[in-house]
Symmetry: D2
Subunit: 170 residues, 4 copies
């Protein structure tokens, strides 16, 4: 039976605070019974979110990787690796495969592309920890579909507010 | 922790015998503790294999779909849907993401493309139920990397022969 | 011999002013002897830029389309249609295949994704007609690699300033 | 105005005879006023076909490459390079973007995947120089849509027989 998938996107190199938030997000997503989807690499926000999720027994983590099975350094916290060998074009797949996207920051190019692709695909986007300039820009252009939050608990509350609740049928 | 992924590929419309074989393959793959990956649609070999896998408690089925979240008709037996919106180019992802590919038949264009892409990616390919002409062709060109079998039990035996055993670390 | 390729990106529905600018950009790009690459559809900025280019004898226009040969409505001003059938993931190809990207506006999701993917690929991006909020955001995060301009002539001057001159060897 | 595009596919390392045939194919395609599309690399059939085409004044060659602008070794005979960074998934784009596909040989995995993807996309496929086993297999499964030929002149005659004539409107 289809399971709800929450995507957590963010830089391969984030600040300590952003990676801590990603770890907590992963843990809370797994605790709610949702599947965590990330970019799958062994670095930054992807790795931290997957790590957080795998502290929860029975959790499932999916990584959609930019490289192939030989080239990519897969996070040890990813259960299921999807190798696209498509580089950044795989960002489109991450977004389409997630019911809701949580972007950790908005300024690094990869994360910004995922926010933009999510808006194009009409997926709800929750942005955590955006800069003031990013907030002003996103609010001016896409205010209805972008949800700005400051911490993981607020992100999870938004997911529930969008109608995805633990145990809800897909 | 990374889980072994076995890909089962085959036509969206197969013969009854081929779909029965796919159902059994799915069941045996899940029973071995491996994750089943298919093309994810609600039809043919993809649907039958996923259905077979979901008769096993605790199984996980992944579907990598050619369409997007609105367009594609996802098998009810898929737990995790990866929406590529890439059409047949997604066949390359199916192949790269599977440790071993089992092709049910070799003559329909989609399945043939997956056999060819698997050979290009240097992945082992097990072909079940190929026609005589397909067997002769594959043996003449790619004999070392293509394993021809006639039934699901033989396919599973080949997977183990290739070193992927239930419970083996990735 | 490799020809220089200039990508012009922008919304399928733009303002009249933006489409007029795209037409002029296409004309100036073709007049300089560069190949024009767009998203290829028969609408908005893509169509206008291709139309402008084809007013110049001997020009070549390439369209990299999101759909397949049956589904997409190709601009009549495209000489060479590349059908990806990859939806918005084709935005990554547009960016990688262009020496320089000119974005007409920055706020629509598709164009924003192309700006972001271009930055990720370390391609120079010229943004024409951005809103004040977009300018402030892009300047704050990516000031070095984003060139903000207000009209087509300034965009062409920037291309030359970046070392791509008419007749320059690739 | 849309131009007819003929795709020539074949191994990165072919026999001398196959590369000679590819060179002649490229020359004849260009002489007919059609655009040549290949996989774009500086090797094998791709390079030979592009080279042949560029002996014809006014010809246009397009290469759709598996890598990105930094990684790939582009044929010097390619005018327009489309960088996909998608590895072998780009084979699907080559096929969709060609009105007709000519495969030089059928046994190498990459070329076989292009034949299969072309059949899936319902594009006419002309196969030049197939082995006896490949001929028997393709005839048994896909006889209606695969045209087996032995030399470049016969391939060009088939293209015209399929209704694509020099100067014909798209």
């Amino acid at each position: 039976m289809r399971r709800h998938v929450i995507g957590v996107m963010g830089p391969g190199r984030g600040s300590r605070a952003l990676e801590d938030a990603a770890f907590t997000l992963g843990r809370l997503i797994a605790a709610a019974g949702w599947i965590l989807l990330t970019g799958g690499r062994r670095t930054g926000v992807m790795d931290a979110a997957s790590h957080g999720a795998k502290t929860v027994p029975g959790s499932i983590t999916v990584g959609v990787l930019p490289g192939g099975p030989r080239g990519d350094d897969v996070s040890r916290h990813v259960d299921i690796a999807i190798f696209t060998d498509m580089g950044d074009a795989r960002n489109a797949i991450n977004v389409l495969s997630s019911d809701i996207i949580i972007a950790c920051g908005a300024s690094t190019p990869g994360t910004l592309s995922e926010i933009a692709l999510a808006l194009k695909a009409e997926k709800p986007v929750i942005v955590l920890g955006a800069s003031d300039e990013a907030k002003a820009f996103l609010a001016s252009s896409h205010g209805e579909h972008v949800h700005l939050v400051e911490d993981p608990d607020a992100a999870i509350a938004r997911i529930r507010g969008l109608g995805i609740t633990p145990g809800s049928p897909w």
